[in-house]
Subunit: 330 residues, 2 copies
Amino acid sequence: MKQPATAHHLLSRIEDLIGPHLLRVEEQFDEELSHPEPFVKDLLSHISRFRGKRLRPILVLLTARAAGDIRPEHTILAAVTEMIHTATLVHDDILDEAEIRRHVATINNRWNNETSVLLGDYLFTHAFHLAASLDTTLACRLIGASTNRVCVGELMQIHERGNLALSEEQYLKIIDGKTAELCALCGELGAHYAGADEGLSQSLREYGRSLGIAFQIADDVLDVTGNEEETGKTLGSDFVKQKLTLPIIRLLESADETQREQIITWIEQGDQDSRRRLQEELRSSHSIEEAHQRAQEYAQQARLSLSGLMESPARRLLEDLTDFAVQRSF
Amino acid sequence: MKQPATAHHLLSRIEDLIGPHLLRVEEQFDEELSHPEPFVKDLLSHISRFRGKRLRPILVLLTARAAGDIRPEHTILAAVTEMIHTATLVHDDILDEAEIRRHVATINNRWNNETSVLLGDYLFTHAFHLAASLDTTLACRLIGASTNRVCVGELMQIHERGNLALSEEQYLKIIDGKTAELCALCGELGAHYAGADEGLSQSLREYGRSLGIAFQIADDVLDVTGNEEETGKTLGSDFVKQKLTLPIIRLLESADETQREQIITWIEQGDQDSRRRLQEELRSSHSIEEAHQRAQEYAQQARLSLSGLMESPARRLLEDLTDFAVQRSF
């Protein structure tokens, strides 16, 4: 499934098309996150080391370009969505008790949970303040509603932890909230502020949603099969926290009664040995391929949502992003 | 210092003047915090049991009435500030490891820390979404900036925990952020949306700030001297977390070297016996009176900020609120 060459090629095409805009987003992000208080400054400069895939800014800018023109508002909106995403990561790392994130110590690991809670709040409130610098309340309304849905998705995930009978439908609802909603928001904001009509804005919202679901399923597969060096983060936390993800849900569905009991015992034990055995069981079943297949279906659905767009390099990149979402190894 | 009769009298005068408006704020608050998902609904209805003093809605409505008319925007703004305050309480209870809040189990106690983090985020994002329902981005901008400063105040408090050389100036800077900023916001929003000019809006902002500082100093005195039954919350957490507050700062300043070492030992030991001894030491010194005196000075400063207002029942209530802030026992 690894295609690092393709991923690199995709990133360099993105760079060619919207590189200067992405740079301006980075600059805006860094400018916003400076503070005279040394302790706050330290925290914020640590945060800037969590430099990730920048998927959300890329989504805002590419959907904008594909639907019309990239305007100054898009720089702000892209920085806002990345800031909100970063806030959720800082809070997620508390929930997951994660120690590393993008090859760097998490805030809860380097400082403590209290600092993580407040730094996440700082990022959320800063993002809203920045969104409020636009002319109308539209972005604030859309961003407020979406981030609220993200919280519900995450709350449901916490609530369903340890529910070993979680259905695929419940799982999809959770990731729709916790991951896909913010990607949907990026598509809608990108299109709307580029002057797209309501229909096209909603299609690009749907594109973001399907892409986000595909992306999260792939992420959950990586949590089971990936290696920490390549992904740059603590893996296996879904297993430790008894969060059921698609590969395990499929494995449990296809298992007979004896196997099922065995799998549940491994999950309940939650140690390294049980995790290794579960991984072996997953690899010898079709569950990982099935989960991957499901991610492919959402990627296909995302591509279909692009049908209202004229042919353009930006549209082709949005199409190819769907492959990246499901085929990446990091 | 207890004057419950006065407090009750004040509350009934507030009730007489703005009761129906306060009721509408409560209704708006409850309406906003309903959710179809049973788990989220449970959490939100638990939150509604943290019914407190409603200081922030009262501030928005009284400053509005004192500066002009209460308008529909004020109901929304009052609900927003209460929701943000509730979000910070939910997150504070994680930081303080508090078990009870307004006579009810805290979210982290009844559920867990992860749920508290996400529920706080839910309340923050919901508040921003509600603020974005107003006509312009002004409220979102003011609210975003203020809540961001609240986070800095709280981060500084965490950072200075265990700093037994904390100065009064540093202490005041922290409470200016963590408590006074939101009260300042309430005054400014109340005045501005009632049609006050910039000068009056800023005066009422200053009123809120001074009131907030007075209120927080009184709260910190209560954490040392109050009883849990009357305040309805876990006390002594400042001591346990080695958060220096004004009474202790004053005590350390007035102590000779031997006493100072003894006090520091008690704080470092942090057990019930040390807390009791420290309380005795505080009571036999002038530190509590001095802290109370400082609170009175801020209350006086708050009253002076009202000088630009015409005489009215609302103005008199704002004046009397400053006494309540420093004299309350809950």
